[in-house]
């Protein structure tokens, strides 16, 4: 068994980074690139950066890392509130107050890299962390013959992001939009479920997903049925981003050794996550 259990370095940096590019990639969606060598060198797929967006916000905002290239770090986000609105107004040459890299990323493993394949499923801006993961998987397993399958889902064509980026990496991309403006009409979870009918599910080594809570929960039902290992990247409002304030917890199952009772423990999305084994999560 070939397992690339990535050791997450314990270093966290607080940087005033220079923005090298910011572009609206689709209406309301932005790609921001900033220079942060310390973060770029150690960041792993699934990790995030915690950014102070500007006056008028009190807390930082977490963003998944979508790509690292030499000294540059890239994030992809949608303008959803005051923080992202302020962020979208920043321009090349402005500085960015960044904390990172934070959290635990995806654990990448392939049992039989020749015949088996992981599947990536992204909803909306969930593409960010999975784009980084796809790059990593492809460079890690160059001998890998089966192409990486990526399911992308969103409300409309405008909300489907990074299709070309995945294609350039050699991924097989399957699309779903709720309004049918591109690809399968309906939810990406349905598209994925349908694909399992024709696809031999035993050949899927791992599923990695990032997106809305309802989507992740629905995939958890499917993967449980087919017994496929499944990792999710969760989102949460965060305060410290380090695990200290305990503000962003998620309920996870915990088997008590002494009483054999099923208990739960709260884990922090920022430090214990944002990536979790889905079977640990108590879906609500």
């Amino acid at each position: 068994m070939l397992t690339a259990k990535l050791s997450i370095q314990n270093k966290v940096y607080h940087l005033q980074s220079l923005i090298t590019d910011q572009k609206e990639i689709s209406s309301g969606y932005f790609r921001l690139i900033f220079s942060a060598p310390q973060i770029a060198q150690i960041a792993q797929p699934g990790q995030f950066v915690h950014i102070y967006c500007g006056e008028g916000t009190y807390l930082r905002r977490p963003f998944s890392i979508a790509k690292v290239k030499k000294n540059q770090v890239e994030i992809i986000y949608k303008v959803v509130g005051k923080g992202t609105e302020l962020l979208s107004r920043k321009k090349k040459g402005n500085t960015l107050d960044v904390l990172g890299p934070l959290g635990n990323g995806f654990t990448q493993s392939l049992n039989h890299p020749i015949t088996q394949s992981p599947i990536l499923i992204a909803g909306g801006t969930g593409v960010a962390s999975l784009l980084f993961l796809a790059q990593k998987l492809i460079t890690l397993y160059t001998s890998h013959l089966t192409p990486l399958t990526v399911f992308l889902g969103a409300k409309t064509k405008n909300d489907l992001l990074c299709i070309d980026n995945f294609k350039k990496l050699g991924c097989q991309v399957k699309l779903a939009t709720e309004d049918g403006s591109l690809g399968y009409k309906g939810l990406v979870t349905d598209l994925f479920r349908n694909s399992l009918i024709t696809h031999n599910s035993s050949l899927i080594t791992n599923i990695y997903a990032c997106g809305p809570y309802a989507m992740l929960k629905e995939i958890a039902k499917i993967t449980q049925k087919y017994k496929i290992p499944y990792q999710v990247s969760l989102e949460a409002m965060m305060a410290c981003g380090l695990g200290a304030c305990r503000g962003c917890v998620v309920k996870t199952s915990h088997q008590s050794l002494t009483t054999s009772h099923q208990h739960f423990v709260y884990k922090t999305v920022c430090k214990d996550g944002p990536v979790f084994e889905a079977n640990q999560i108590i879906w609500e």
Partner: protein
Amino acid sequence: MVNLSTEIARIKLKNPLLVASGIIGFGEEYSKLINLNVFGAITTKTVTLKPRAGNPSPRIVETMEGMINSIGLENPGLEIFLKEKLPFLKRKLKIPIVVSIAAENAEEFAEISRRLDKEKGISALELNLSCPNVRSKEPRAKSPPLLSCPPPRLASGDAGAGESKNGGINSEQGVISLISQDAELTYEVVKRVKKVTKLPVIAKLTPNVTDITVIAKTAESAGADALSLVNTFSALAFPHSPLTTSHSPVFGGLSGPAIKPIVLRMIYETYQKVKIPIIGMGGINSPQDAIEFFLVGAKAIALGSALFRDPFLPQKILIGLKQYLKIQKITLSKLTGSMIHE
């Protein structure tokens, strides 16, 4: 050279800047990012006798110039604190450690204090008196399930947590009272703790009272060595967290710049009524804020949720404070309450 050293409740501090309870937990996470020894002292997250799972998500909401938290006093309990958390802090820190504690009643406060009194390396106890008083109230009808740590009914109450969504307000019973909303109980708790420990005792009070000076004077008369003013303000806001599907509000404690003017007024009033020193906290976000706290009567100050945004705020505040003292040609001790003395 400007001297920032001071003394609070018999604890010698190299500078008057503390970190408030609940902000850095037990120091493990923040010590990877900043040098905690820049502070004059640190206050731990509140420790209770038994472990507490805390409240369900969402626990935090950003508000205008602040945030609401409803952590629910999540902590590993006294035993784990002594076995794992305190040794780490003692190893890592060269500055005084203030341990924040909470309990449901005076007896339990005394039990925790008795145990901590035997430990080396603790400089003071801070009594988190912003927990619901369950002595005179029936247990709440709809208490949240706390599967991994069943019984305690306290709601919350750290630097962040004042009164939690599950504990602070109950539609059937009205507002549940907190220890420091009741002068008699405040007196009883402080008195009992003082009896069992030689450690300096700091009483941290809730601002959710009609007249905080009444409670402050009571704590002083019971023997409190200092006051921490104040805990968070009872509040509610609607979250927009991806983890929630409903739009039900979060009840919790409000912190941040939004509360600062109210806190300053409370310290201003209390300073004129008590002799024990005041550690001021609530909305400090800049050197200017810090100076204002001293002007109205704080002898030391504590940094709260603003640290989440700016991990280098401690240095900025200390540098700003030094510059101010130098320019004004005034000592730190003279600065305290100088607005009133003039």
